[in-house]
Every structure is written in structure tokens, then in C-alpha cells.
């Protein structure tokens, strides 16, 4: 930051506007619309909220005329800058599906040249925080990055404090330090101007401003100091991330859920919330399909829904807990900072005035954690972006169906051919997003990796999977991937291997089995335990029978129920090994199946001596993007798509099997 502050007289504000709008920039700034100060495109600074302030309280925001000739005497309104860096609706892809041929292409990201005027300290922090979250993966945030990079940021240091501000507690303000191209502090007769970057200097130099007098700089400093004093320190944040995650069973969650409308307002006004969904559209013929990315919220019921109508967060209590613990606790694990900047929008714009400051004090008051800590706080820098595997650019690869084999009445394996090197390098346990224009896009585990393609074993449970299982040879699909963290085969080398599969769960385990069988001597005893609903629901029967015939593997199977013709075992899959005579301490276990089956299996394996760090499973969650930017698949601190879907029980801790998480 340049040490020399300048001074811009109030009368010269228009010249400043002209300088900003030069080179074709559109100026976005605060203006009054329908009872709030919002961010909108300005055609001149005459449109600034001159003489206005806003009084805020839980559930209330009221503009009030001050009668003063000042343009920035308020804090934040209903809109945040994410409207421009992370827009509510953007086109994602365009696709075409005709005569079996499929092609899907991403829509070019826009990078409009904008100048953001009036960015508060808390908003600067929010831009930085949300940017970090969006730089995680390729889909959609090429858009975010392009927009953010193209904006010129003119910050304004707050001269007043609203009743809902708590930037001081979150360490984001009210002082503007760095992050802006230009910083303004408003005094009665003009603005102290600080330059933050070369881009900012470019603009300011055109104005030929005199240096700010020391008394002017002092007035600016005193002004912001008074704001700090007015806010105080409403939310004790020391140790808050740990205290909050230790309070997952606090009775207050149910109490706030009685008031909470789950209307999503808090998440949509929040400048750092980034959750989105994908909306699908097509023409009447189903030939041309498009997708859009739209703002969504963890408060909507559909957010936690998975195939088969199950839902991970059915109760409002679960959703409120998800939001607050993500914002103030697990955001640290993911991104190395708090997700909250203390702007107070969620307090003002909640239609029933729920105040997070009060809720935090009630649920996680200062002092020792109130319960066991379910998972420890991650390293300071968080997992993203450094910890993330480099994901290939968002390429939509067209693959062709070479064969379709129905494993059961409702489950088919598609043999897809492709020469895409990334897909052919898929690892056991990874998945792909499968797109047909005009249909919802499911994540499907890879069920076999071949030199010239992949197999996907898909169960028909809804329209998208029905159309996929109905494809015939020669038809095409568009794939994005491979995604996720696969099975850690190396962790099992030299040890006994136990594989437990329930139903369709055998599909993501099959490439693991392929890899172990191909390299058999490197492993100890290998035991497969297979569960299915009925004998007719068993997958890969011929292959599994062939494996059962080998002397270097043990394969047992069991079904939930059967008719009189079945002579095999009937019961739950844990019965296959709950009394087996092997030593679990020498085993690495891999499992996949319905969550209920996995919790029972985990418990039985533990009983048999298999340690938590040697028990691996793969999780299913609602996924819209598959790369950690849509927010749907979160489980505690984890993004299932990106940190998983394969996890060890030790990493998950009590996140696994916990209701409503």
C-alpha cells in the first residue's frame, strides 16, 4: 500500500466516477432501491445514497434520512458482492443429444469489467473467503475466478456501525487494511484516498489529487476507531470452532428450530455462502439441453436428498445446525478461516429475527467444550486448495456404449469406450458425473476400469437412471471425471483384506477386487462378504462364483430374504463374519452398502479387532458439481466428493452414521 494518502474533495466525486468508468468499466455501487441500499450499476455518483443511513435490528432494516451531505454513512444492505462474483444464475453447459450422439460443452465464463465501489472491510474479507472456497475445483468457478479477477475494488471504510455489525469479533474490520485497489474514508468535505494496488494507482493518478493533510488522515483514523468502539466485541470467538463442534447435541438447536422458518434468507444474503444447484432445461424434443448454476441453500429440504427418497437432513434442526457449524466451525477445516465476516446481514434479514450472536452464546459459550470433540480442528491453512488433488479441467468427454448387461431386473452395467486419458487413468473408488442433455446428472461409481474404457453399474431408481439403463449399443453419454479419492489399496499390502459389500455397494468395490486379484501375492488372506436383498438382486453373479472357486480367496454370500429354492444363507451381512475365526488386527477392511448396513458392519468389524484407521468405506451424498463447490455433499468438515467418497472410519470419527449431519 502506498504510504501517501490523497484527498478527493466532495465536489470532484464525478471526476472519480469518470476515471473509474474509463476503459469501458461498469461501475457497481450502492444505491437506494425499494427500501434498501443495494448494489447496482450506477450511471453516476449522483445515484449514491447521499444523506441516507440504515437502522438494523434482528428482522428489521429501515432506511432513515440523516440530512447530512454524506454518501456512505451506512453499512451493508440486502445484497452482497457475491451477486457479481458468484451470480444467482449463470449458464453452465450446452448439450445436444440426437440419434444417440451426445455432446456437452461448458459455456465460456464471462469476465465483465466492473468496478465495485463502496466495498466494506467485512465485504473485502468475504470476497477473499468466498474466492478461496471457489478456487477449489474447475466447474463453475472458472466463472467465479474470471469475474473476481476482472473487478476493480474501491473500498470504503465504515464511518458508522449498525446494530447488527460484529466485524470486530470476526477480525474482519472495521478498518480496511489490504485487499482493495483503492480505499476511501469519507470526511465531511471529501475523501481520504489510499492506494492499494497498481491498478488502483492507475485510476487515482488520472485525478491528480493533492496529498491528504495529516489532520485529514487522523480524522479518518479516529472515525473508524469510533466505529470499533461502538461495536465492541459481541461474539467471543476464541476457541469457538472447537466449542461449537463439541455441542452438536445441544438442546438449543431444537429450540432455534422452533423459530427458524428454513426460508434460506440468511444463506442468500450471506456474502460467503456459496452453495448452488444445477437446473436442467431442454427443448420439447429433448435434443438440446442446457444446465444453469443457481443459488441454493442447505436450508432447502431437497439439498440433502439422495436417490430413493432418503434425506440426510430432514429436520430443520439438522439444517440450522449444518449452517451454523459450517459457518463458524468446519469452514476452518475446509478453508483455513471462519466463514463469517460479522456483516450482520443474516440477523437483519431473517424474517423472524434470529440472531446468530445470541445463538452462538447459547450453544457455545466461552469456557471448556461442553461435549466430546467429534473431529479435531484441521491444520490452520485448511484443506483447500493445497490439499485438493489437481482436478482436470472441466472437460465433458463423450463416451460410447459398447455393451449393456443387466445384472438384475433394475441394475445394468454399461460398458463405455473412450480414449480420454484422464478417464482411463481412473482409480478404483473414483466416480464420474454422467450427463445426458435434458436430464439430471447423477454421480456414478466406476465399476470396472479397462484399457479402452470404463464400466458403470447403474441402478434404475428415477428418470435419469432409468434412461441410462435403457441405452443401447452405440448410444453416447457425456462424462466428467474421474473424481474423488479412491480406495487406498497400498494400505492393504502385506495385510489380510476383508471386503464387505451390500447390494449395489459391490459396484464401487469391484475395481478394488480386480486390482487385488491382479496382484494377489502382495496381500495376505483375502475374504469377500457379499450381501444382497434377494438372490435375484445379486450383482456380477458369474464373476463372484468364479472368484469363489479360487483357492486363494474366500467368498461368502448372504441375502436378506429368499424363496424356498435358495439353499444359501439368509440374514444380514454381518452374520457372515461376526463369529469368523480370523484375527481382525491384521486386516484392512473395505466396505460399501446402504448406510445402515455399513454402521452395523463397522461395529462388527470393530468387535473383531479391525481398527478404525484400517476400515475404509465409501459414502453417498447429493452431489451437483462433484468437485467441492456446490456444497451439497458436505458431511461435517468433509466434502464427500473431494475429500472422499472413500474415507477411513478414523478420519470420519463420529461424522459417520450420525443422524442429521
Amino acid at each position: 500500500m502506498s504510504a501517501t494518502s490523497r484527498f478527493l474533495p466532495r465536489a470532484d466525486l464525478d471526476r472519480f466516477f469518470t476515471a473509474l468508468a474509463a476503459d469501458g468499466r461498469r461501475v457497481i455501487g450502492p444505491t437506494v432501491v425499494d427500501g434498501s441500499i443495494v448494489h447496482d450499476e450506477l450511471s453516476s455518483f449522483a445515484e449514491l445514497p447521499n444523506g441516507w443511513t440504515a437502522d438494523t435490528a434482528p428482522g428489521s432494516y429501515r432506511l432513515r434520512a440523516t440530512g447530512l451531505d454524506r454518501a456512505f454513512d451506512y453499512n451493508v444492505g440486502v445484497t452482497s458482492w457475491k451477486r457479481f462474483t458468484h451470480p444467482p444464475i449463470i449458464p453452465l453447459t450446452r448439450g445436444r443429444r440426437e440419434g444417440g450422439h451426445v455432446v456437452v460443452e461448458p459455456v465460456e465464463a464471462e469476465s465483465p469489467r466492473l468496478a465495485f465501489v463502496g466495498v466494506r472491510a467485512c465485504e473485502l474479507a468475504a470476497l477473499r473467503i468466498q474466492d478461496r472456497a471457489m478456487r477449489a475445483g474447475p466447474l463453475g468457478d472458472a466463472d467465479h475466478i474470471a469475474r473476481g479477477d476482472a473487478a476493480l475494488v474501491v473500498a470504503v471504510e465504515c464511518a458508522t456501525a449498525a446494530g447488527t455489525c460484529f466485524c470486530t469479533s470476526m477480525g474482519t474490520g472495521p478498518e480496511v487494511e489490504d485487499g482493495a485497489d483503492i480505499v476511501l474514508s469519507e470526511l465531511d468535505d471529501g475523501f481520504v484516498v489510499r492506494i492499494g494496488t497498481d491498478a488502483g494507482a492507475d485510476v487515482v493518478d488520472r485525478l491528480d489529487l493533492r496529498p491528504a493533510a495529516p489532520v485529514e488522515s487522523e480524522r479518518a483514523a479516529t472515525q473508524v476507531a469510533a466505529v470499533r468502539a461502538a461495536i465492541g466485541d459481541p461474539v467471543p470467538t476464541d476457541g469457538l470452532p472447537t466449542r461449537l463442534r463439541a455441542a452438536l447435541d445441544h438442546p438449543r438447536w431444537a429450540e432455534v428450530a422452533e423459530r427458524c422458518l428454513a426460508c434460506a434468507n440468511c444463506t442468500l444474503v450471506c456474502p460467503t455462502c456459496f452453495c448452488t444447484s444445477v437446473a436442467v432445461a431442454s427443448d420439447l424434443d429433448g435434443v438440446e439441453g442446457t444446465t444453469e448454476r443457481t443459488w441454493d441453500s442447505c436450508f432447502s429440504l431437497g439439498f440433502g436428498r439422495v436417490a430413493g427418497d432418503a434425506n440426510f437432513r430432514p429436520k430443520v434442526r439438522d439444517r440450522y445446525r449444518q449452517w451454523l457449524t459450517h459457518k463458524f466451525s468446519t469452514w476452518w477445516d475446509q478453508f483455513g478461516s471462519s466463514g463469517c465476516v460479522g456483516c450482520g446481514r443474516c440477523i437483519a434479514w431473517c424474517p423472524v429475527g434470529i440472531d446468530v450472536r445470541e445463538e452462538l452464546k447459547a450453544i457455545a459459550p466461552p469456557g471448556a467444550p461442553s461435549g466430546p470433540i467429534p473431529w479435531p480442528l484441521s491444520p490452520a491453512e485448511g484443506r483447500a486448495p493445497a490439499a485438493l488433488a489437481a482436478v482436470a479441467p472441466a472437460s465433458h468427454v463423450t463416451a460410447t456404449v459398447q455393451g449393456v448387461h443387466f445384472e438384475t431386473a433394475d441394475t445394468a452395467s454399461l460398458q463405455l469406450s473412450t480414449d480420454d486419458p484422464a478417464l482411463l487413468a481412473a482409480l478404483p473408488g473414483q466416480f464420474v458425473m454422467v450427463e445426458l442433455p435434458g436430464f439430471a446428472i447423477p454421480p456414478i461409481s466406476v465399476s470396472r476400469i479397462l484399457p479402452d474404457g470404463l464400466n458403470l453399474t447403474i441402478r434404475s431408481v428415477g428418470p435419469s437412471t432409468a434412461v441410462l439403463t435403457g441405452l443401447t449399443n452405440g448410444a453416447q453419454v457425456s462424462l466428467r471425471g474421474p473424481l474423488g479419492r479412491g480406495w487406498p489399496i497400498e494400505a492393504a499390502v502385506g495385510r489380510d483384506v476383508v471386503i464387505v459389500a451390500g447390494g449395489i455397494g459391490l459396484a464401487p468395490l469391484r475395481p478394488l477386487i480386480d486390482a487385488i486379484v491382479a496382484d494377489r501375492p502382495r496381500f495376505g488372506a483375502v475374504r469377500l462378504y457379499l450381501g444382497a436383498r434377494t438372490p435375484r438382486d445379486r450383482l456380477f453373479v458369474a464373476e463372484m462364483n468364479a472368484l469363489a472357486g479360487r483357492t486363494d480367496l474366500e467368498v461368502s454370500e448372504i441375502v436378506d430374504r429368499a424363496g424356498p429354492e435358495w439353499l444359501g444363507k439368509v440374514g444380514i451381512v454381518t452374520q457372515l463374519f461376526d463369529h469368523a475365526p480370523w484375527d481382525g488386527t491384521r486386516a484392512t477392511a473395505f466396505m460399501c452398502g446402504p448406510e445402515r448396513m455399513m454402521t452395523a458392519t463397522a461395529s462388527t468389524l470393530e468387535h473383531r479387532g479391525v481398527t478404525a484407521d484400517n476400515t475404509w468405506l465409501t459414502l453417498e451424498r447429493n452431489m451437483a458439481c462433484g468437485v467441492g463447490t456446490c456444497g451439497h455433499c458436505q458431511l461435517g468438515p468433509f466434502f464427500v466428493c473431494r475429500d472422499g467418497p472413500v474415507f477411513s472410519l478414523a478420519e470420519l470419527g463420529s461424522a459417520f452414521g450420525r443422524e442429521g449431519l
Binding site: S460, P463, R561, P564, V570, G571
Partner: protein, 168 residues
Amino acid sequence: MRPMPLPDDGRMTQTLCALLTETWFAADIPEAICERLSSIAELKEYPVGAAVVQEGTACRELGVILSGRIALRLALPGVGEQTILTIDDGDLFGWSALLPESIATSTGVTLVPTTALVFDRDPLMALMAQDCEIASVIYPRVLVAVTRRLQATRTQLLDLYRAGHEPW
């Protein structure tokens, strides 16, 4: 179901006890207790398709499978007779015999030739009333068997409510 004659010289008891300890049932049961148990037991051999216990009827025998497999069946509405649980070596059947009303809660049919150690209800109850150590090994294993049944029943219930193919 051919009960084998029991010679009265204790040799058969030792043989039965040995057979029992080959299964997981007897793991953690001291030899002495195993022998006392076996002394009131009978060895029974069942051919394939034998109904070892019939749902809704009186159940007078508790058994431990030594080798073989029994399918426990229920008539499920709309589906018919379905096996909801199979029990193998070391597993208990006929635990309803220990309940006051002794009415069997499922039908058990052998799937393969099966050998079991069988206890008649009255001698077993009498022995357990007088010998707490016997009761302390029988009842936990009965609990395991009942738990298995509960889990299997719950699995059926969950399946009943599982959503099928959604049109949308």
C-alpha cells in the same frame, strides 16, 4: 428325526460335548459346564426338508446346530413363504421353548442334512433353575439368537417401506 440311543455310561456325554465345542456356540464355555449341558442333550439327525419347528405351534425343544443349515421362514403378505434367516453351525433354534407359552415364531426347515444337539424343554428348565452357571451360558446365547431374528425382521420391515422406482 431319529434320536440316537443314549448309553448310560457317560461316554456319549463326552462325545456330545466334544461335538459342541467344535462350534462357536461353545467358545468361552468351560469344559465342565459343557459336560453338564451335554448330559441332558440328545443328538438328532434331520434329513433335508424336515420341519424342525413349526410357526404357531408348541415348541418343546431347544437345539444347537452341530452341522447343517436351517431356514427360518415366514409367510410374507403378497409374497408368500420367504426365508428371512438361515442358521448354521453353532446357532441356536427353538428358543421359544424357553418362553412361558412356548409357541414357535417361525417355521424352521432344514436345507441340507443337519445334525443338532437338542434339549427337551423341561429337563433344561429344571437344570437351569438349579444350576445358575448353565443358565448363565444359555441365556446370553439365546439373546444372540433372538437378536439375529429381530435384525432379520427389521430388515424385512425396512424393505417394505423402501421407495421403489419413482416416476419422478
